[in-house]
Symmetry: C2
Subunit: 419 residues, 2 copies
């Protein structure tokens, strides 16, 4: 746990956020850049006093996640401070994918439209807004991909320093997409676990560094609620019957559920029943395995899957994912790397959306959930597609290519098309 930084003169403004609460035993403590309860050692979560929130206020807000600022731990003037303006990504009616899967009514939430093309822009934007209130001046993270891009970009736009730690073995393309923002990108000779440990240590030692997914994690993770808010608003202020969410740490799934419940409690949507489904790659499926076995704890695994953005072997929110899925009557499944690639290709072929491996996991798992009778093909379903295929080209490399290579004449083209 990081010592709280002394706020500057003005008092702390985190909007409707009032306290942190421990997830296990509900111990309450003041808002601070801390992430684990000293009482019960469980994760801390933001608690709110929302007051009255009306649809009209939200609809009159900006076309980004700050339209929901009255539901987030961010300052009241958050939209005026330079930020990457993530959110309000497309929710597309996916009739062709629905047909291919045998679903009646399907929507795809396409979060590749975010500034750095993954949902991480949402959580990082909230983390940065909260970190600024706490008096931090540097945005940091350990990462191998989407998070590194999002942190480096958000810091650049805000005029903050950034410190992004990556394993030195990372592919050149992934290094470039973070290095271009010109923050402090540090390659560490070690694996991702080494980098993660180093981040936790540095977070404890550097009072002005906000590690988005460490010391300001309770604020950061609230950013995922906006996926739930947007789905509901884009459906015309109502909840879908089923939603399929990929599981890495599990935070996103629990926060989408939290967002749905808040909307219901606040009277912004009718409290209709919904089922939350989780998707994992078999090569890193600790939560799926726990669900299958009926456990309420999650046994860590050593990840081995092409879905690297989901490859968290010891997911912090695993038990809470199980809670949500069990409470709502959903299910969790996992799919092979081969199925992941098929999922990527199916979504691209039917809806023109090119997703990264995590999206392939979501699509393929949906297919499996239908085949095993766990997902109701008659019920309206939403898939969360949270990252971009341009970032995981290696997953499809060697599997797809031109239909034909021909000499430059029209007959050759026609023949190629007829073959």
């Amino acid at each position: 746990m990081t010592a709280a930084v002394t706020p500057t003169k003005r008092s702390l403004d985190l909007g409707p956020a009032v306290e942190l609460v421990s997830k296990e035993e509900g111990h309450r403590q003041p808002l601070a850049p801390e992430f684990v309860s000293a009482e019960d050692f469980s994760p801390l979560e933001v608690a709110y006093d929302f007051g009255r929130v009306r649809r009209e206020d939200i609809e009159a807000g900006p076309r980004n996640i700050w339209r929901y600022k009255k539901l987030l731990p961010v300052p009241s003037n958050v939209e005026e401070i330079p930020n990457t303006e993530p959110g309000c990504t497309r929710l597309v009616r996916a009739d062709r994918l629905a047909k291919a899967l045998g679903l009646k009514r399907l929507w795809v939430k396409d979060d590749t439209g975010n500034p750095t093309h993954s949902f991480k822009d949402r959580v990082v934007a909230v983390a940065l807004a909260a970190a600024r209130e706490f008096g931090f001046d540097t945005l940091a993270c350990p990462s191998t991909g989407n998070l590194a891009n999002a942190v480096a970009a958000a810091a650049a736009r805000a005029g903050w320093q950034s410190v992004v730690l990556i394993p030195s073995s990372l592919e050149r393309a992934k290094i470039l997409t973070t290095a271009v923002y010109d923050g402090n990108l540090i390659a560490v000779d070690g694996n991702y676990d080494d980098v993660n440990r180093l981040a936790t240590q540095l977070a404890a030692e550097n009072e002005t560094w906000a590690f988005v997914n460490v010391n300001v994690r309770p604020y950061y993770s609230e950013g995922s609620k906006t996926l739930g808010y947007e789905v509901a608003e884009q459906l015309g202020w109502r909840l879908p019957e089923q939603i399929v969410v990929p599981i890495a740490s599990g935070s996103q799934l629990t926060k989408v559920d939290k967002g749905f419940r808040e909307l219901g409690t606040l009277g912004l949507v009718e409290e209709t029943p919904y089922k939350v489904f989780g998707a994992q790659a078999t090569g890193c499926s600790p939560v799926s395995t726990a669900f299958r076995n009926g456990y309420d704890v999650v046994q860590p695994v050593k990840p081995d899957t092409i879905a690297r953005s989901l490859a968290i072997g010891n997911p912090a929110d695993g038990p809470y994912v199980l809670d949500v899925v069990n409470r709502t009557g959903g299910a969790i499944e996992d799919v092979s790397d081969e199925e992941v690639v098929e999922g990527i290709r199916l979504l691209a072929r039917t809806e023109g959306i090119f997703t990264e491996t995590a999206g392939g996991v979501t699509v393929a798992t949906t297919k499996k959930l239908i085949e095993t009778g766990k997902l109701d093909p008659e019920a309206e379903t939403v898939l969360l597609i949270t990252g971009d295929g341009l970032k995981t080209l290696d997953a499809v490399e060697g599997r797809i290519g031109p239909k034909a290579t021909v000499p430059p004449n029209a007959d050759a083209v026609r023949q190629a098309l007829q073959s």
Copy 2:
């Protein structure tokens, strides 16, 4: 010119579009999939009868380009037909870039948020909508990059066949990003000129193929007007004083101007003066050269620049670009490949936006226009950033990287940051 396809039973519905008009002598002819006037051999352009269009109607529309459907050559129900739903991308206030450039008030229109991350999704969506009305069933193009992605994705989502022709020497990554949509991607043994010639021949021979940038080009190019509409709406229904637009064929620049003028004529914005500036890479700068020399025609060049998406040596709309720039009191400049890379890095470092080489051209040219006194640093300026850096990683390869590579301990990280 392609023979018009016989429309199906219902009559042609292209919304407010009423005729095609030749750009040189104003010859009028019925709406059809034709792109060159048989009278004066100049390009054909869509003419409209808009009737009354109100801001409220637009604001009540969908959050994509179809909110402007009453200003486009598309059917009245266009938003109901599956499409990639491009547009409504972010217009971000760019104070840090403004400061770096010495500008008072600057906005960046970040079109990387489109479905396949370039403005081509806009023009392809309009082309597809019009092509459907004309009875075509296959969407096609010659391309080496953004257009190939956009056509393949749009066709996939619409459930259409696609035929995308590329030079067989294209880099593997660019092949993958089109091949994933599973259309007919045909690699042609030849250079881009060969591929282009082949496309024109095939467009003439295949009555059911809509080559977006050949036989349905007049409709396709109208899609770029939406960039102008969005900028004006996002500024609060007013025109900027200066706008900088990259020039490839020159179509985008002329259509942004057309969009601005239409908004003024329709009373949707006040008709305040604005200047349009053009940006080229020196390695392919025929329009900039013509402007510098005061010519009203453009001499073709052989392109040699890293800004490949702008590398059109014989730009079809070059003369019309000169007209717009001269009429509005703007200017055109060009920049070296070295400056292009600096432009990419400057935008990333100051605003967290990673653009492709074309965006680097726009930023670097803006800098040059300020330095040469052609762009007024006191006047409000908009830059069009029309494509994504993830697609041109080779441009920054070898120039950027980690700040340091260190062993996995905190001291080493701290030392690296102090050095």
